[in-house]
């Protein structure tokens, strides 16, 4: 696929490192996402999946390594930074303000205002409600009303609102952390359809999931992390059964495609 004349990946992370106290959560991870690609990110608990994506979304600041968007290096110091560069993340617990309505959540941090007095902008609620309606129609989401408070929505509907927010502002990259973890089977199908719809509309997506079927259904390529390292980076293909066995082998450490590189990098001044 990758060809020297092709344009650079929409997002590239090189040698990302992050530690929390004595715990080395990320030990130098490389990740590239091509335009209009769906990338599945997998691994056991504490493999570093969410940490890596929180680095990309600006929620965590990495200790080392670089992030490049369409070939240009960027430095995120906050989620707003990353959102302004077109990186949107749907967090595992949805990260919505349950006391506010759907439209307010979709536009949170990016409110449309009618006029401004210094830092105080008067909200243009009519505009935001209309835009939200258009957005959820485009994504084929069904919600009772965009003025409904989020606390009155079901888990699947909340996930849809969180995804809608991530797609509302022409995001370059949409990251989803376990988008199906807390949902019923019917709601999972809805979210999978939504992801397929987003891909059809041209989005580039990274999905963290521990549900291999979900990755198998939507992802073009997958990366497996183990103990803060990348152990696999390959296309999603073949039968579901074989795919499952292959992924599990990487997750439990029976296979490792990058073992040699690690030995070299750890030999030359690794942390342990």
């Amino acid at each position: 696929m990758s060809h020297p004349t092709e344009r650079p990946p929409i997002v590239e992370m090189r040698g990302i490192k992050k530690h929390f106290g004595a715990v080395q959560a990320l030990r130098g991870i490389d990740l590239a996402l091509q335009n209009n690609e769906v990338l599945g990110l997998m691994g056991d608990n504490a493999a570093g999946k969410s940490t890596l994506m929180k680095v990309l979304s600006g929620a965590y600041i990495p200790d080392g390594g670089g992030i490049f968007i369409e070939g240009k290096e960027v430095h995120f110091t906050s989620p707003m930074n990353a959102r302004n560069q077109g990186i949107e993340m749907v967090y595992q617990d949805y990260a919505l303000s349950n006391n506010l309505d759907v439209a307010a959540n979709v536009f949170m941090g990016r409110e449309a205002v009618r006029w401004k007095l210094g830092p105080f902008g008067v909200l243009d609620n009519a505009h935001m409600e209309l835009e939200t309606k258009n957005l959820i129609n485009r994504l084929k989401i069904r919600l009772p009303s965009v003025r409904q408070k989020v606390e009155r929505l079901s888990g699947g509907q909340r996930q849809a609102v969180a995804i809608a927010r991530a797609t509302a502002f022409d995001a370059k990259v949409i990251i989803m952390d376990e988008p199906t973890a807390a949902l019923s089977v019917a709601a999972i199908d809805k979210v999978i359809e939504l992801i397929q719809e987003l891909k059809a509309q041209g989005a580039s997506i990274i999905i963290i999931s521990h549900r291999l079927e979900d990755i198998y259904r939507v992802a073009d390529r997958m990366i497996v992390l183990r103990h803060g390292r990348k152990v696999c980076d390959t296309k999603v293909e073949g039968e579901l059964h074989d795919f499952r066995e292959r992924v599990v082998a990487y997750m439990i450490g029976a296979r490792d495609d990058f073992a040699d590189e690690t030995a070299v990098s750890q030999g030359s001044g690794g942390s342990r």
Partner: protein, 312 residues
């Protein structure tokens, strides 16, 4: 019918507070022929202006799931400093601006300690409470500063179009506060932070900045309340505003704003302020011993909390 009862619950949730206020007013009208007179109503409103203005800032703070125990002490310190400036011949507008600045500045310190040093609001503002009170006492040597210029006293005693100036000021503060909270992005950020600060940060909200802002607002409004107080009394006491934080918290809680943050608003607080003021006024009119009055107020607060919880 479950649908019927949930409808009634909804109505009670929306109008229960104002209904209890009207019932209280009705009872006092029947019990005392002096209650429903324009002189008494103006009196009640004027008495509630100080608590009302402080309660606006307290509402903002509690909406972020915080608390500000320092409002009474900030009131005292900014009041004695303003009074001292006025007696030293500082122009009235300048003295007012400096006084408000002192209140806002102390609020800023509260906010920075809470957000940057990650100190719980209860502890940070408790510290500010004792520090500001101590500074007010030190600054004055424990003595009141008496005798303020007439032009300054207008903000406490003046009347415009038949309405006392403090009521106009408090009314304006409520309207501006309510518009800010319900019609602007900043208001939404404050509600979002109170509901879930982590989610607000992930959405790109500058959580520290807006959390600090509510304490600045609370400090500035406390200073404003202090000026109205000393203008009315023609005297600034270093012990002014003692325990005012609790009156303000009571009004906010009676008004239905949740301590958990993110739920409530200034409409409720306004009614809460009025309920407490009317209650005290009614107990006075009925010649209830002043020793009993706090007991009654406390019972009302407890009942209001229980009702809010039951209706949620």
């Amino acid at each position: 019918m479950p649908a019927q009862s949930s409808k009634i619950r909804n109505l009670l949730r929306r109008f229960g507070l104002i209904l209890s206020f009207l019932l209280l007013a009705l009872a006092l009208t029947l019990l005392s022929d002096r209650f429903l007179t324009s002189a008494n109503i103006i009196n009640v409103l004027r008495q509630s202006t100080i608590n009302g203005i402080i309660a606006i800032g307290m509402t903002y703070v509690i909406l972020t799931a915080g608390i500000d125990l320092s409002v009474g002490a900030i009131l005292a310190l900014s009041a004695v400093m303003t009074a001292n400036l006025l007696q030293g011949g500082t122009a009235v507008p300048l003295a007012i601006i400096i006084g408000l600045g002192v209140g806002a500045g102390l609020g800023l310190i509260n906010g920075l300690i809470i957000t940057k040093a990650n100190v719980p609001p209860f502890v940070a503002t408790l510290g500010m409470m004792t520090i500001a009170r101590g500074l007010a006492l030190t600054y004055t040597g424990g003595r009141p500063i008496t005798g303020l210029p007439d032009s300054f006293r207008t903000i406490g005693t003046g009347v415009v179009g038949g309405v006392p100036v403090p009521i106009i000021l408090a009314g304006a503060a409520f309207i501006i506060g309510a518009v800010l909270l319900t019609k602007t992005a900043v208001g939404q950020y404050i509600l979002a932070i109170g509901n879930n600060p982590v989610a607000a940060r992930y959405a790109g909200i500058a959580v520290h900045r807006y959390t600090t802002f509510v304490y600045v607002l609370a400090g500035a409004l406390s200073a404003l309340a202090g000026m109205i107080l000393i203008a009315r009394l023609d005297s600034a006491q270093p012990t002014a505003g003692l325990a005012y934080e609790f009156d303000a918290i009571a009004a906010v809680v009676v008004g239905g704003t949740s301590f958990a943050g993110g739920q409530g608003g200034l409409g409720g607080t306004l009614v809460g302020v009025l309920i407490i003021a009317v209650l005290n006024n009614g107990l006075n009119l009925l010649n209830v011993s002043s020793f009993y009055q706090p007991v009654v107020t406390g019972v009302v607060i407890a009942v209001a909390l229980l009702l809010h919880r039951a209706l949620r």
